[in-house]
Amino acid sequence: MEALKSFFMTAPVEPAVFAQSLWLIIALPLLGAFVCGVFGKKLGRGNVHLIACATVAGSFVLSALAFWCVNHAPPGGSPVSMENPFSSSAVRYAIGYDYGTWFAAGDFRVNFGLMVDHLSGVMLLVITGVGFLIHVYSTSYMEHDESGWRYFSYLNLFIAAMLTLVLADNLVLLFVGWEGVGLASYLLIGFWYTDAAKAWAGRKAFVTNRIGDFAFLIASFLLVLLVSAFSTQANVGNYATVGVNAEAAQARYREGLELKGPLSFPGLEILANAVPTTTENNTQAALSLQTTIQEGPLAGRTFGGVLTVTLLLFLLGAAGKSAQFPLYVWLPDAMAGPTPVSALIHAATMVTAGVYLFCRMSYLLVLSPTAMLTVAIIGAFTALLAALIAFAQDDIKKVLAYSTVSQLGLMFMGVGTGIFWAAVLHLVTHAFFKACLFLGAGSVMHGNGDETDIKKLGGLRGEMRTTWWTFLVATLTITGILPLSSGFLSKDALLHGVHHNHLVGFEGAATALYVVGLVIALCTAFYMTRVYVLTFEGERSKEARVAHAHESSRYMTVPLVILAFLSIAALWYALPLMPGRSGIKQPVMENFLGPVFASAERIAARGAQVKLDHSLPSGLDYAIAWVTALVGGGLAAFAYRKYFPARAGTPAPVWARSVRRFTQNKFYVDEVYDFLIIRPVKGVGTIVFKMVETVIDKGLVHGTAWVTNFAGITLRYLQTGDAQAYATVMALALLGGAVYAIIQVLN
């Protein structure tokens, strides 16, 4: 056992050496995207599959190595740590490498720096691991598509962008990945671009994301101004909490700013550590959250106020990427893309970006309870809304899409109340079971002539054995009906944290959010069971497209089996097995992510604004969660097996009809947006267009053309080529000259 432990604790490559190769993790899929995109047509299907899968597999191997390096702590040796350019203390359990200045303008500087710590290490494994499985699955799923090479090129691009997002050690580079996944999702959702509806769905995703990205950009700019204001106004006292020697810490921080620029994560972490929430608890500090900024564009505002606004803008950005209210509307429409794409977007990559962003900046978030509460409320509202919409959707992919929106809402609740590790854990487990569900849905569609209406399926249990049992496992995991599954434990850890963490000033919120969380869990159990029962149990629908479904090929089922296995196996991370700093056993994931969230913990403890809780859920908590899941699942199973099997053509009962219609139309949120935002904007656009058309188009552009044309028509008569006409002009001119001369002489 010890030998095994020391084997896993000793990286095969020296971490400092491996750090220099981190860029390869991004470069491999990017190369794959390039080769598939440019030469794919000539290479042939098999080669494209090979290249696309191999590059992601290579990335996975490198990610695993990076992960191994981050955990490097050989017996007797010191744990791996990297130098922090902003502070004399090192960043623990992290490797990173700075590839030099990317761009600089005045004081502003951005470096191309990559960093892997425990948080991004986990993300790396999820992205490349699940991504690889989805690639393999796609080779079979997209077999009949003409432009498979284009698909795999986009898919690789997606992975590369997401890896950039996760590996970046500053906000600007993260934004590159942030935009990259947006672009790749647009390309993939609108992959079948000859179908207008699908192209529109891609466009909708793109535009909605753009709104969020704009907020992200403004937030980044605010942060730059905030950092420069902090650097001018802070005194030595501020740095007392950062390093042993405050003066050295200040000098070091300023060096770091010059070296790495203001938007580097280690720098932001030092800033968060150096700002006390009130002046009372650190009398030597010149600056606290209540201090007014003295100069620059932000003059007159307090640090705390600007920080809250910044975080709220980041929330809007994250809402765009992670499909939270009010920007979630693109995600269900994104079902227009190929199903493995949905799996990739929903499970492993894009939508987790928002959660990742807030976990990455947890130390800033805990400085502002207002922002935290907003994040939590937005999460809870989104989760509930999406869960309710999922009740009445008949399209198997749409249900799963709303389920993702809902689960992400849960993660945001966790992030908002400060239980960051559980949010990450749920992110990981969700990646497994949601990928399994989506790929399962894809398999169902594949075997049933692309039928997505669950009312026209049914009875697939016997015909698609592997798809059936993997889907069942994933359903049991996401609903929590099976108590020993990763989904159950991670969701419960999340809800427990939401319940027990306190935001000072908003005490009532914790219980309310917990109750909402339970309702969401109930809804999840209900609609997922509904999907499962209608798809796999009972009789085969009379309106099914094909008489007998066929099981998918091995390339599709093997990833399903692996994902189903992982959905269960990931429960290990939620078990309290590892002793924490205080000696009490902590869940593995909490222990593991400890170094990443250490700053957040410290700041929360110091500020007394946010009280983070580390207790384990009791048996009663588990019991409540389990009963909730059982009730939800049982209700759905009972309702859809006995009471109304709701086959296509069988109408729903009268009392349920209007509710059903209302829910089915997604509470008319899209229509409300259309009425409140899109139409006014379009109206203004039309007016501006008319103005521009009249003044610029008609007046200036056409006017110039008209004047030139008129001059041409008139002057044409001077160029007839008629010698006599020329002679006439000459004679008239002579005559004129003579008359003029005579007048002059006579005068």
Partner: protein
């Protein structure tokens, strides 16, 4: 030659001839007639030269008139050659139809 004609009558006659010639150049469409009208204008010029020469009592005007006649002869031969060439290539000497100068 005591009652010699006053010079202004010569000049008036020359002006009338010149105007007739110019009128012809501007109005007529036949290239040959245009040429004849040009000759008329040249001769109007010659007439003024000779009138002034008589009044001055030297031979400068006569010399100029000879030069003009020589140049006019040369011009007429080249011009006729051009007109014949044009007629051969286009079948007409109507100058309204020969508008090559606009190219």
């Amino acid at each position: 030659m005591a009652n010699s004609v006053d010079i202004k009558y010569y000049l008036i006659l020359a002006a009338i001839l010149f105007c007739l010639g110019m009128f012809g150049v501007l109005v007529r469409r036949n290239a040959l007639v245009v040429f004849m009208c040009v000759e008329l204008m040249l001769n109007a010029a010659n007439l003024t030269f000779l009138s002034f020469a008589k009044q001055n009592g030297d031979l400068t005007g006569h010399v100029s008139a000879f030069f003009v006649i020589a140049v006019a002869a040369a011009e007429a031969s080249i011009g006729l050659a051009i007109v014949i060439a044009v007629f051969r290539s286009r079948g007409t000497v109507n100058i309204e139809e020969i508008r090559t100068m606009k190219h």
